[in-house]
């Protein structure tokens, strides 16, 4: 057999249903997650072709993108959003699909609830009509985002015709420093390889700094893979993974569990397996980062400055100039001198219990700056309940943060949580594209600790110098 196989190759091969000559291989999909925004047209397509859902049991739906984060039970004032949610409810009912609806105790962002319910497991193929499906790769699953036509394809066939992606290994040596979170690692990598640095590839994150991450940290890291252009991001399953999955609602039990764990232990990349591309990162070189531009690759250390654009190549320089114009920043400005108006702690990148704990630790005993409006949006109802049990909600509320219901919220502002034109926001989400959080809004991506600190200081500040109470 020559050299060994990678984690990706093992999962890929195990899910090949057919490899028709001259066509894309057909891959079996173990788990299909569905939400309200990218699915209505797919269900319509099924109906008009007279097709059904092949495996409703392997299909799980929730509402997250559109839902208001005001207390549950308040009416949805956005009628078009309400119509979209109603469409998902009707479609799930018609096709017998499990739906964690608005009022369900399990409701939450699709990439938060999959793992926390134990739906996400090592070795699986997982798809969802959402690019951040890469999050689930943290478990050593092959998980990627698809468009609506492909959602329809999976509903109808439980398979996808896929060209085989290339593989990229990102090896992170050493250890992350104090105050440097998984988010900073993700931003550091994207800043290093660029927003198209991994296009056409599936990334496997490896090395001691990755192994040391909790499951939450690994999810943050894999979540941002798409921002480097990757098809998916993965971390090989290990004891941390197994301990996380164990006992969760949809996790295997009894003899099934033993068998599953044995299978999972065989998944990690074999010694000597080859990757199409390898990138080496030294964790010790990383620090807390802040994005200054309009894509996640435009990052600077918190201790640094908005970069000069003169040295850049033609296309990149123009992009940087447009970004600075949009962000109302000039080259050379110290990052710590950038004042903010809003703070958003949430999204499928950073809304899990550990993220909220980290932010709360920073917020404790401080007050949100009077010029700042800050909100915390837990990723799911489960996260929200856990946080409340630990008293994190009190910490946030006492410090002057808003404590909201779960959903995507201001990550993309499809619900009423949006930035006003010109407002500047420190956000733990994953995209700082123009208008992403509201037309004319200016987004800076940071870690949960950095976001909490910025809320209190009123400007970006190096968390490594923070006074914890």
């Amino acid at each position: 057999m020559g050299a060994g196989r990678t984690l990706f190759e093992k999962i890929w091969v195990a899910h090949l249903v057919a490899t028709p000559a001259g066509r894309s291989p057909i891959l079996y999909i173990d788990l299909h997650l569905v939400h309200e925004v990218t699915s209505p047209q797919a269900f319509d397509g099924l109906r008009s072709a007279g097709r059904g859902v092949r495996q409703p049991a392997r299909t799980v739906a929730t509402v997250d993108h559109n839902v208001p984060t005001e207390p549950r039970g308040s009416p949805i004032t956005d009628l078009i959003a309400a119509r979209q949610i109603a469409a998902l409810q009707a479609n799930c009912k018609e096709f017998g699909i499990r739906l964690f609806d608005m009022d369900a105790p399990e409701q939450g962002i699709v990439h938060v609830i999959g793992p926390e319910l134990g739906l996400t497991q090592p070795g699986m193929t997982i798809v969802c009509g959402d690019s951040h499906t890469s999050t689930h790769g943290a478990f050593g699953a092959l998980a990627f985002g698809i468009g609506t036509s492909e959602v329809e394809h999976v509903l109808a066939t439980q398979c996808l015709a896929q060209q085989k992606p290339k593989t990229m290994k990102i090896d992170v040596h050493g250890q992350l420093g104090l105050g440097v979170m998984a988010k900073d690692l993700a931003l550091g990598i994207i800043g290093h390889i660029g927003t198209d640095g991994a296009t056409g590839h599936v990334i496997e994150y490896a090395g001691p700094a990755v192994r040391a991450l909790s499951m939450e940290g690994r999810m943050t890291l894999c979540n941002m893979s798409i921002e480097a252009g990757a098809r998916a991001g993965m971390v090989a399953p290990d004891e941390t993974t197994i301990a996380y999955v164990k006992g969760r609602r949809f996790a295997p039990t009894g003899g099934d569990w033993e068998k599953a764990v044995e299978r999972w232990r065989s998944l990690p990349t074999d010694q000597g397996a080859a990757f199409d591309k390898v990138v080496e990162i030294d964790a010790a070189q990383l620090c807390p980062f802040v994005t200054w531009g309009t894509n996640p690759g435009m990052v600077a250390p918190v201790t640094g400055r908005v970069p000069e654009v003169n040295g850049l190549q033609e296309g990149e320089r123009r992009a940087a100039e447009l970004a600075l114009q949009y962000m109302a920043l000039e080259p050379g400005r110290r990052i710590e001198d950038i004042k903010i108006d809003r703070v958003f702690i949430g999204s499928c990148t950073n809304s899990r219990i550990e993220d909220l704990r980290a932010a709360a630790r920073v917020a404790k005993g401080h007050r949100v700056n009077t010029q700042v409006r800050a909100m915390v949006v837990p990723g799911s109802q489960t996260v929200k309940r856990a946080a409340e049990q630990e008293g994190l909600d009190r910490v946030f509320l006492d410090a002057g943060f808003e404590w909201r219901e779960s959903g995507c919220s201001m990550c993309l502002g499809m619900n009423p949580d949006i930035l006003q034109p010109g407002e500047r926001c420190a956000s733990t989400s994953n995209r700082n594209f123009e208008g992403r959080q509201g037309r004319g809004g200016r987004t800076h991506l940071v870690s949960p600790m950095m976001a909490a600190a910025a809320a209190i200081a009123g400007h970006f500040t190096d968390i490594r110098n923070w006074k914890f109470h």
Binding site: T38, Q41, A57, K93, L119, D130, S131, G147, T157, G435
Partner: protein, 207 residues
């Protein structure tokens, strides 16, 4: 799916890199539950300065690019969100193809399902097309999927490559769900061997 064979049309130059799908179709327009009607929201925040008021500086608002059906743009076109609405919006607006030196994977995938062509040329070739689209009046290009070639009347011509299977589907307007279902036996055999995990089987009283 609409077939794509040969298309000739006016070229609009969008001289930006990393054009993301949030720009192509901002999220406030993703709430529709139909596939149609997205064209009027294409590049909304760039095309309009205020509610419904066109931005005179945006390229698609220049009369010389009216009716353009081929877009040329900088690298990494279509990055970001997986929203297929981006392709629907481009198509609905009248575009049939985008020329760039690289495309984000999901965007490229979505395009193929909608009879919409992503034409990948080299950086240099893209700059050349961009220059001509900016400089030549009523600049037209022919995108020929049969020959895998883009050419104009001024002597420019460039080959591009497309995955053979994708090309076959596009040329014939094939529905790839139907193609996958031709493998019903293999899918059924795979399912018989693997079965649905116990945890997922009991859906109780769903719906």
């Amino acid at each position: 799916m609409k077939a794509f064979t040969v298309h000739r049309g006016r070229v609009a130059p969008l001289d930006r890199v990393n054009v993301d799908t949030d720009q192509i179709i901002p999220k406030q327009f993703l709430k529709r539950i139909e596939k149609t009607g997205f064209g009027k929201f294409l590049f909304y925040d760039w095309r309009f300065v205020a509610e419904g008021k066109p931005n005179p500086d945006f390229v698609l608002n220049e009369t010389r690019y009216e009716g353009a059906s081929v877009l040329v743009a900088g690298k990494n076109f279509g990055c970001g969100s997986s929203r297929e609405h981006a392709v629907w919006a481009l198509s609905d607006f009248g575009f049939r193809a985008v020329i760039s030196s690289s495309f984000a994977d999901i965007f490229a995938n979505n395009s193929t399902k909608n009879g919409f062509l992503t034409v990948r040329l080299t950086d240099q070739q893209v700059s050349e097309v961009m220059r001509r689209a900016q400089g030549v009046d009523n600049y037209q290009i022919t995108v020929d999927l049969e020959k895998c070639e883009a050419r104009d009347d001024q002597g420019f011509s460039a080959k591009f490559s497309v995955d053979e299977f994708v090309r076959h589907c596009l040329l014939n307007g094939l529905d790839d769900i139907g193609l996958t279902l031709q493998h019903e036996n293999e899918i059924a055999a795979y399912e018989a061997q693997h079965g649905v995990p116990a945890g997922l089987q009991d859906r109780g009283a769903v719906g």
